[in-house]
Amino acid sequence: MDGSPLGRSQPEAPRPRRRVSVIGVLGELLLTAGAVILLFLGWQLWWNDAIVAGQQSSAASQLSSQWSEQQAARGAPSTPSEQPVEPQQPVAPVVDTTVHENAEAFGVMYVPRFGHDSQRTIAEGVGLDVLNSVDLGVGHYPDTQAPGDVGNFAIASHRSAYGGGMHEIEQLQLGDAIYVQTKDGWYTYRFRDLEYVTPQTVEVLAPVPHHPELTPTDRIITLTSCNPLYSTDERVIAYGVLESWRSAEAGPPTEIADVVAGWGV
């Protein structure tokens, strides 16, 4: 590293023994700290958002196509011609009230308004083990109802970072579809309204939101996320109402059949 130029006339002086340079080490530490902080910013803004979003949506696609394959293995609808599927006809949805274990994946949420690849796995519980996971992302509040059930199916997800499963929640428009797939079939909810509340407003999770004393008659979905974007001061709440249900045998709703077929590829 310190090769002396050729033809040096002076005899080599005895080299001083290398010593730890305090300033040098300090400088290195500062440079390293700077690099780590830059990396941390990169992780937060890029990796933890875009990359985790990709991981979460492919995990959800995988779960969804796994159910489709199981359905295919069970065989196509036995007598499709005799029993034409009539999506318009209101059929009571199958409700699976099995109590899931914490962090157990049991559903897939897909909201076309949230964009391409917005499908996310729904798992039981709203702890960080679910919400910050790279293959889950959406958590079901354990004390709320099951998908399709009378009452309130309440779920939570991040707005930004950790995949941002509900990043576009404020862009929802009246009547937007919120699809929930389980092993039993597809629940189509229609977005109704948004609400902004304090983080302590647990009444939004009641079977009849804000009216814990009432007995529910509607089948509601409630999405909760943080608000404003990049802040946690408030919560944004989106409500939807169950419109229809299709069995796994009948397959995904026709309007998203192409999208869902793409998940299996």
């Binding site: 290398r18 080490v25 400088g27 941390f40 709203v126 939570a156 943080c226 946690t232």
Partner: protein, 55 residues
């Protein structure tokens, strides 16, 4: 003598091999940071809550 200087001297082989070894080390450190250190630090520095809870 500095930490990185010492590291360079400890690594075996010719310069090109040392560069490759250094890159591998850096990749390992970045992987560890992304996988464990940053998620842990983020949870402490910047807890993001998206749920409604009893106060």
């Amino acid at each position: 003598m500095t930490v990185y200087g010492a590291l360079w001297r400890i690594l075996p082989g010719p310069a090109w091999l040392r560069v490759i070894l250094l890159l591998v080390l850096v990749a390992a450190v970045v992987f560890a940071l992304f996988s464990w250190v940053f998620p842990w630090a983020d949870a402490i520095l910047n807890p993001i809550n998206v749920t409604v809870e009893e106060p």
